[in-house]
Amino acid sequence: MSRGRRPKWMIELGKERIDILFNLAEKEFSQHPERSHRYVKLARNISTKYNIKMSMEWRRRFCKSCYKFLKPGKNSKIRLSNGKVHFKCLECGKLMRLPYIKEKKQKRRNKIESYLVKKRVNE
């Protein structure tokens, strides 16, 4: 099998499968946590083999060093500090940091826009 980019239909199938696996992992976590860790492993196998990026929703739901499924409040802790979101895995103690600059900029833009609209109305 050749390396590099895969055909489009393979990537579509892979995306669907990853989505199914993560939904199941979330469902099974309360009773069978070992199953949900296994599903994360299977999903990662697919995404590494077919060069598929996981969606933003699921990229934050597993630890990047021990690859276990994270459920906020049960085995992970989420805090905001210095313009970043901190995800702490309570299984291995690793800290992931993701910036949220985009959201900040969007907020600033909205503020300026609303100010300009007000100015125009007053004139």
Partner: protein, 93 residues
């Protein structure tokens, strides 16, 4: 979407399945949900909560897909790693 045409390449975990034929007579007629999958085996959870491991190559399965249709699949077609099944090519039997 899981359809009868792409079920060979799609995810089996989460589907309900019935074993119709098997070389081991004790396994015939067992129903359950697929919980895990490896290269040669499928792990089922029965309604009473017990898990059993079934070899793929020696059994005939009836998978029920979410739309409600029932698809009959020979286990020999499914023998490969779960992530390799996407690129595998199948002949119609």
């Amino acid at each position: 979407m899981i359809t009868p045409h792409n079920i060979f390449q799609h995810e089996l975990i989460g589907l309900t399945v019935e074993i119709v034929e098997s070389s081991h007579q004790g396994l015939e007629g067992i129903k359950g949900k697929v919980v895990d999958e490896t290269r040669n085996t499928i792990c089922l959870e029965r309604p009473d909560g017990k898990e059993i491991v079934v070899a793929k190559s020696t059994s005939l399965f009836h998978f029920r897909i979410p739309e409600g249709l029932v698809v009959e699949i020979d286990g020999k077609v499914l023998v490969s790693r779960p992530e390799d099944r996407i690129k595998k090519k199948f002949r119609k039997i």
